[in-house]
Symmetry: C2
């Protein structure tokens, strides 16, 4: 018997910058000219059928004008495109177009595009660099911080993927103007959640500027994007592998995700989350972590954003209670909730423990309250 | 415009051990019991139709006897299974069987199995640990050092994949007994190449013990496996991202790969490589890096291993010359060869330059010589 020990210890620097502004296509190409990606001269712009005309083509044109080889790869907009088949389609189209290891991907779009394109980049030629150009409020945080990329499979959401950090993220708040109002409100839902779990001042800012945000006021949008990213960064930075603290980002999601599924995706993620946040607030009050007044403030802000805060009639509440058990926080068959403490803070239940076991009876009681 | 700088610098320790021995199934399970993979209790044993009965089932049985949950996932043996579709099949079968993030993969087989299973492990749940249990001489080096995992696509070989390091590698030299002789000789071809590029003493050892190696002498096999790994480790360690030195592993491959393709895969990779090494040796002599006697020694050792050293009649030499240009070392339309210097060393052509531009006329001359 022989043994060989391989020592493979290295320092990895995945640092990058998030730039937030109003129409950043030119800035993106300037950065590339200034050497953001070293000597790379070939770019695959990956986008969806909604965003192609709005931003994708423009970025390709600007890259070509600057003397680069650029080609657009488009797939159909929507969550149902987040599959291994779409990944395969993009890969084959890139190979067909002569792309090999000496290229980079620019993902232009919302969360589906950045999740998928970041995954493609992670395995194309065993890893090529990529940039996210985020065009939705939801992607402003999701595509920008955390490095999570993935596709869905028939049996599991987001379970095939990679941790893969972009070289830079651009958040174009001008693009939010083109979102349909329901999509925008859905994005606001996660923003309010961020404020609830980490930043009372930001909560008050949102309360004051909700209308400006929904009206695409440039300054308000930029501030909101920045706050979204910095809150998520603060959380994720301390816990890259989702072992503990990162669980707090699940605030409101235990009930929220279950409602989303039981509604058969009639409700958008952010809408279901708003209802889940209302449930969580009531639960928090039951446990003594929030006053009734604070509960009303949280629910009030969701209402101000035009989001639902009670369970639609067509949803069977007993089915919903059962569905709670598919939550990824369930441990040994026991429901676990992340709980807000006051406004802008999270309750803890021991060192690195951010979720509390909750009896089914209490969960049921809350669900029948909203 | 706002900017947020994310600092993501970390130290990654991918160190691991290669254990070489005769029938290591029990040792593998002992190591797991001793905590090799922490508290993981669920194992997906990924293997192919050839290796399932020989080693896969045994490992599953041993794991189950030790109180672990283990399940075998089998795909059809052969290079043509190294596809995204097979990856998808294994993923879906694992999900179907209830595997989520809290599991590990044990890859049992040759290079196709370890390449594919290592890739599955890299993206399942955004990365789960894996172990390689290598059962072929070829995999002894390929699956053991370098962290390359990949699948093929219709348009490109090994271009969709990941760098992903196993937690441990077992090389079971007893398994070489079950290889068919042609496969074993093909594996020996890469071993001789390793000796040629890095270790004169090992070259002499092979010359002396070739028969014992082909007869599966335990001690000789273990020594050969160890040398294979340590030579590759020495090269790869200095150049993880294939920017320079790693190119030397391409010795003999410029002509070798071209012959493999032009033969329409009638020739095994190792057989084509043997012919490519003969071509390279003649080229080296032409350039003054090897004596005629050294050329004869290299060719003689390949012959002793029962490998071909001249181009079969059915191959059109002009087609072969053309095919050379698909080599990945081609730069700006110019052929480039890695050149052996004497026995056990590599010629260099400047700092970090390990391949020499060769005129087509010279390449043609060599091809007509063998």
């Amino acid at each position: 018997m022989s043994v060989l020990n391989l020592e493979l210890i290295k320092t990895v620097d995945d640092s990058y910058q998030i730039e937030i502004g109003f129409s950043l296509e030119e800035k993106l190409v300037e950065d590339i000219k200034a050497g953001l990606l070293g000597g790379i001269k070939k770019f695959a712009v990956v986008t969806d059928s909604n965003v192609k005309d709005l931003h994708g083509d423009k970025i390709v044109d600007l890259l070509e004008s600057a003397g680069y080889m650029a080609k657009i790869f488009v797939f159909e907009a929507g969550e149902k495109s987040k599959t291994r088949r779409t990944k395969e389609y993009v890969e084959d189209a890139m190979l067909e177009a002569g792309f090999r290891r000496d290229c980079a991907i620019i993902a232009v779009g919302g969360g589906v595009v950045t999740d998928l394109a970041g995954f493609v980049a992670g395995t194309f030629g065993r890893g090529i660099p990529f940039i996210n150009y985020a065009t939705t409020l939801l992607a402003a945080a999701d595509a920008s911080v955390g490095g999570k990329t993935a596709v869905d499979t028939p049996l599991a959401t987001n379970l095939i993927g990679l941790f893969n950090q972009p070289k830079k993220v651009y958040i174009d708040v001008a693009a939010w103007k083109t979102l349909d109002m329901r999509q925008l409100r859905s994005g606001v839902s996660e923003t309010i959640k961020h404020a609830c779990l980490a930043d009372k001042e930001f909560f008050e800012y949102l309360d004051e500027h909700m209308e400006d945000l929904l009206n695409n006021d440039k300054q308000v949008c930029e501030h909101v994007a920045l706050k979204n990213c910095s809150i998520k960064y603060k959380v994720v930075m301390q816990d890259e592998r989702e072992s503990g603290l990162r669980e707090v980002l699940n605030l409101g999601h235990t009930v929220g995700r279950a409602i989303e599924t039981v509604s058969d995706y009639e409700l958008l993620h952010g809408e279901a989350l708003a209802i889940g946040m209302a449930a969580m607030a009531h639960l928090s009050a039951e446990l003594g972590f929030m006053t009734e007044e604070e509960v009303e403030r949280v629910i009030g802000l969701y209402k101000k954003a035009g989001l639902p805060v009670s369970i639609p009639d067509y949803i069977d509440k007993e089915v919903l209670v059962k569905k709670l058990y598919t939550d990824k926080k369930v441990k040994n068959g026991q429901l676990r909730f992340v709980i807000e403490k006051g406004i802008g803070d999270i309750a803890t239940f021991g060192e690195n423990v951010y979720a509390k076991p909750i009896e089914e009876e209490l969960a049921r009681k809350i669900i029948y309250m909203i």
